[in-house]
């Protein structure tokens, strides 16, 4: 963050210079066209100023050639810009294959971040220089929007689904973090800062502070607490599908449809389990709608992601026993809203 009066934002991500290049090109085009148009208007106003009150203009109806020229040339110019801008957009929208994931939850009026290693932050986000970071984001109430001007990225954070942004920071420093989608009374207070650190400093930061255990282990604990493990067993003997190695795979549903197991599908399966039942299983799973928070779901997702066959489920089981799993199925009737 800077003092004084900057006229151009800092560029602190790999994508930022490319956005700036397009911006500066368009500024140049706008300046050129505006000056051209303004000059013509002024010149014609002066040159053809009415001197005799009874004079009239020349009889000119139009010119087909001119019309075609000034339709076609702008058309090609804007289509060129379209190609340039769309290529850029795809690179902004499509995260690279290997990313460091951070989960974000927006709520009126704060940002909550969870690192995979378990660090949690509020309104402050620490990321290292030179790593590709992907934010997996959802909202607990209304639509928010995570916006980091220095990185030139933003995306709406929508309740009920996951959206993403990704960036690779290039410069250590502190940058603004805004909520860019109007979200109510303290919208302008839903701000924070992104702290970009050198990799070593970041490692030090990660290992410092209160160690709460990794996100996956928190998810694992929740998995036990909610008694998910009674059905989702690693040995294919449970009433629910095996979750090991499941993430990213395509599964066939009872309806015959195929779905990719992604964050949204896991979330849906936790909240409305009967909607998309995997083929070969009974729709016996109760909803966990009112039992687990958005952050808890993110932990469960990360836990499912962490399940690989070479790492048996017991390996991440926390040593705390936790409360006895509740045997009763959770309430089935939904409270009505009003």
């Amino acid at each position: 963050m800077r003092s004084g009066t900057p006229l151009f934002p800092e560029a602190a991500s790999t994508i930022a210079p490319r956005v700036d290049a397009l911006y500066l090109f368009l500024v140049g085009l706008t300046a050129f066209m505006t000056i051209l148009i303004a000059a013509l208007v002024v010149i014609f106003m002066v040159k053809y100023k009415r001197r005799d009150p009874n004079s009239i203009g020349a009889r000119i109806h139009g010119g087909m050639a001119l019309e075609i020229i000034w339709s076609i040339i702008p058309l090609f110019i804007v289509l060129g810009i379209f190609v340039w801008a769309t290529g850029l957009f795809f690179d902004i929208a499509r995260p690279p294959a290997e990313t460091m994931n951070i989960y974000a939850t927006g709520k009126q009026w704060m940002w909550k971040f969870q690192h995979l290693d378990g660090q949690r932050e509020i309104n402050e986000l620490h990321v290292p220089v030179g790593r590709k970071v992907k934010m997996i984001m959802t909202s607990e109430d209304v639509i928010h929007d995570l916006y980091v001007p220095a990185f030139r990225v933003k995306a709406d954070v929508i309740p009920g689904r996951y959206s993403h942004i990704w960036f690779e920071a290039t410069k250590a420093g502190e940058y603004h973090l805004f909520c860019a989608e109007y979200c109510g009374t303290q919208h302008s207070g839903m701000i924070g800062k992104v702290v970009v650190m050198e990799p070593d400093d970041f490692q030090a930061w990660l290992s410092g502070g209160v160690q709460e255990g990794s996100l996956a282990s928190a998810g694992s604990k929740l998995f036990q607490d909610l008694a998910c493990n009674t059905c989702h067993r690693p040995d294919a003997q449970g009433r629910g599908p095996v979750l090991q190695n499941l993430f990213g795979k395509t599964v066939t549903l009872a309806s015959g449809e195929n779905v990719v197991v992604d964050e949204a599908y896991i979330r849906e399966s936790i909240l409305t389990p009967s909607q998309k039942v995997t083929a070969g299983f009974q729709p016996v799973m109760p909803t966990f709608q009112w039992l687990v928070s958005e952050e808890g779901i993110l932990q469960l997702i990360e836990y499912v992601k962490s399940l690989k066959t070479d790492m048996p489920v017991s390996a991440v089981r926390p040593n705390t026993g936790g409360p006895a799993p509740n045997e009763n199925t959770p309430a089935q009737t939904l409270p009505t809203r009003n």
Partner: protein
């Protein structure tokens, strides 16, 4: 000015009945236009008062003048008042209403009673919306995004939404009236391609009003059903999609931008021709550009949603169409400039507004390209860059055009002339004040200042102070016409039937026109903007 020994006609629409009742229950399109003029000016003042509060608050980075709650209510009401009660009705309901029958040689609009009804619907709608101000305010932004507007906001969403719903019918009925009038009421000889471009622009506008507004209406019904009855339509808790609201909303509200700008473009076409005394260059291209904008304008709404979670593929389609819609607008600008070439360009007040319009609209339109560029829009959307862009189009464009039109037809409407020097000064002051206010917002927007922020980081202050300072200049510019135009009502010189030596059927009747518009139904035998030589203050 032309002939000086002119007198007012003995009877005209203004002195045909002097009682309040003869005004409030009039079916004369010209009187209804004046009813709108009064109401629309009032709502402009209300909207402007909110704008003053916004700019005062933003003069300092801290949220110190207004509470965050009140600030949100203020910018919401600024948007609602300006968009729904000023910009959308301004040109069609005032100048369109007044001029379309005159320009096509009709005695009135096709449905005069419906026209009066439109006014009262507008009035009742405004009452509901005004009521929301006093019953807790409205803090959703003029866009009413769900689920904030349906489940989170504690403000008076329902009365405000109801007001906008009701007001929508006013727009629909006005549009319907115009379409039928233009189809069925043209004078003999007034073929489609002899119509003034102002009429073409209003035809295109009416299409948008008729086809777009009902979708806004149903959207409001769905929001109200969710908010009042607790139905789950956009609510993620029952599996609803809040983004669906945005599709429905922008399907109307993006074309609504063209409802605001197209009539202003129509005015500019008239003004350029009249003050260059020359046919509009490429008449058919300008006419079809209006229709093209109206049609393509319906295919681009998704560019408001590039970061809202719509699919990348849909975004791509919306983006390319958004670029394409820029072309007819560019064509219009080029044709206006070409019209001035070798014209007889008068330096009277309306021409100053034309020059201002072309400058500001060009910047507004070109910065639209930034926002249609998906890769750039990610950074720019929901920042002050957007705010600056749409003010350049809607304020720099529409209001410049509107004021230009008011100055052009003022002698026709009132029969009297205003002070031309003051008129030119006002145009310059508005132009300068406008740029001072909104140009810094482009810069602060690219720096990353989000819109709808009550408090902001300190490094943005200088630009915001500039903007607030510019706003005070702009306010002076907007107040000036109010005074000298009002003054001219009583003390202005008698204008005569055709003070500018312009062509067009409206200049063939008296100023002010009689209630029946024309003594005898005119028969048109000439092309649009056909200037006979030499001009003698009165044509045909």
């Amino acid at each position: 000015m032309s002939s000086s020994t002119v007198a007012m006609p003995p009877t005209h629409y203004l002195n045909n009945g002097l009682t309040l009742k003869s005004w409030l229950f009039t079916k004369d399109h010209k009187r209804i236009a004046l009813l709108y003029l009064v109401a629309v000016t009032f709502f402009f003042m209300v909207g402007a008062a909110f704008a003053v509060a916004i700019r005062l608050e933003l003069a300092t980075p801290a949220g110190d003048l207004l509470s965050d709650e009140n600030y949100n209510r203020v910018f919401t009401m600024h948007g609602v008042m300006m968009v729904f009660f000023f910009l959308i009705p301004a040109v069609p309901a005032i100048l369109g209403n007044f001029l379309i029958p005159l320009q096509i040689g009709a005695k009135d609009l096709a449905f005069p009673k419906l026209n009066l009804l439109s006014f009262y619907i507008y009035f009742v709608g405004s009452l509901f919306t005004m009521y929301s101000i006093v019953s807790g305010g409205l803090d959703t932004g003029w866009t009413f995004y769900t689920p904030f507007s349906t489940i989170a906001s504690t403000s008076a969403v329902v009365p405000a939404a109801l007001g906008i719903f009701i007001n929508g019918f006013s727009g629909i009925l006005t549009g319907l009236n115009f379409i039928v009038t233009i189809h069925k009421m043209r004078a003999p000889g007034m073929t489609w391609f002899r119509l003034p471009l102002f009429v073409w622009a209003h035809y295109a506008t009416s299409l948008i009003q008729v086809l777009g507004t009902p979708v806004l209406a149903i959207t409001i019904v769905l929001v109200a059903a969710e908010r009042v009855f607790g139905f789950g339509l956009f609510n993620p808790a029952v599996g609803g999609d809040p983004v669906l609201f945005q599709h429905l909303f922008w399907f109307y509200s993006h074309p609504a931008v063209y409802i605001m700008i197209l009539p202003a473009m129509g005015i500019i076409s008239e003004l350029v021709a009249a003050f260059s005394r020359k046919q509009v260059f490429g008449y058919t291209f300008v006419a079809f550009a209006s229709i093209g904008i109206a049609v393509i304008g319906f295919l681009v709404w998704g560019h408001h949603m590039f970061v809202s979670g719509e699919s990348v593929y849909a975004a791509l389609v919306f983006s390319v169409l958004s670029f394409i819609v820029a072309v007819p607008s560019a064509v219009k600008v080029f044709n206006w400039i070409a019209t001035m070439y070798r014209g007889s360009v008068s330096w009277e007040t309306p021409m100053f507004y034309v020059a201002g319009f072309i400058g500001l609209f060009s910047i507004g339109g070109l910065t639209g390209l930034f926002l249609a560029s998906m890769g750039l829009d990610v950074h720019l959307t929901d920042t002050y860059f957007i705010v600056a862009h749409f003010h350049y189009v809607m304020v720099g464009g529409t209001i410049m055009g509107y004021l230009g039109g008011i100055h052009f037809w003022w002698p026709k409407i009132t029969g009297r002339m205003y002070n031309d020097v003051l008129g030119r000064i006002s145009a310059v002051v508005i132009f300068v004040g406008f740029n001072l206010t909104f140009f810094p917002q482009f810069v602060v927007g690219y720096l990353g200042m989000p819109r709808r922020y009550h408090a902001y980081p300190e490094e943005f202050q200088v630009l915001n102070v500039l903007s607030s300072a510019g706003a005070s200049v702009l306010a002076v510019g907007y107040l000036m016409p109010l005074f000298y135009l009002a003054y001219s009502l009583k003390y202005g010189p008698i204008a005569g039937d055709n003070p500018f030596g312009a062509v067009g059927l409206e200049w063939n009747t008296t100023s002010p026109p009689p209630t029946e518009n024309f003594k005898t139904t005119p028969v048109v035998t000439w092309e649009a903007y056909e200037y006979p030589t030499p001009v003698e203050g009165h044509v045909v």
